[in-house]
Amino acid sequence: MHIPDGFLSTPVWAALDVAAVPALGYFARRAQAGVEETRAPLLGVMGAFVFAAQMINFPVAPGASGHLMGGALLALTLGPHAATVVMTAILLVQALVFQDGGITALGANAINMAVAGVWLGYLPSRLARNWGGATSRLAVFLGGWLSLFGAALLAAVELSLSRAAPAGPLLAALLGFHALAGLAEGAITLAALEALGRLSPKFVFQGETR
């Protein structure tokens, strides 16, 4: 899912770089205003954990692999504002140090995974907040699926606009693959969040204070 340099045309990556800066700045300020400093160690530990989890590719289809993206997991532990910032930090380290994801494509990757991937992961749980029980577990699973699928949809649109390949086959390949990989994303997100909740309820995001 990390778009390398060269896949996107200049107008597409440049526009997304320009759009990403104010968007990330906004989410960072919202996190600073709404998340308490006592949660700082959690930001570090969850960021490191998701980075590590992203190193592990598992087979999804014959000849193709996927790894946890972690947008939903970060959103449901840190809250969506802080999660956007932490995911951006992960993408920065991956692009600059490990050459996983392009430099010019950083804006695109941040919009796809740190913004859409985090917020789509958060959305079902936010909607289901007051329902409780099995519904909230379903919402966590759905958030994992949706975060990956939504990020893939954006990537497919960006690649189509860049004329990397015709839109139809591009959408079919990326959406088909990530609809399948999303099942693993949802299952891992649910299992990890339940384990974290048992370790300490404070690991599960309960809303920001104002």
């Binding site: 998340v35 400093e37 959690l42 930001l43 490191a48 592990i56 140090v97 015709p166 086959p169 974290l196």
Partner: protein
């Protein structure tokens, strides 16, 4: 919360020094699509090669050492960046 933080730190360590060795080398979804649709060749790098490129530290002969050291460095860097940002969060009233 402290116990949970240590547990997550330990889990991270196990992932980068152990489980990562089992990671599949098959292309990821995007690379796979790029190969099938014929645009994989467009990929290029704008930076000179990093000594940690592809999560393998260049100077190690053992694959385990190369990968574990790269993973550890990355996890520590992300931890440092996220904690640094965390210090700018609001103080409890």
């Amino acid at each position: 919360m402290k116990r949970g933080l240590w547990a997550m730190g330990a889990a991270t360590l196990v992932l980068v020094t152990g489980v990562a060795l089992l990671s599949s080398n098959a292309p990821d979804g995007l690379e796979w699509a790029a190969q099938r649709l014929g645009f994989a060749g467009r990929a290029g790098s704008t930076l000179p090669a990093s000594p940690l490129a592809d999560y393998q530290t260049r100077y190690f002969n053992s694959r385990w050492a190369a990968q574990a050291s790269a993973g550890l460095a990355g996890a520590l860097l992300v931890y440092a960046l996220a904690t640094l940002f965390g210090r700018s969060l609001k103080r409890k009233k």
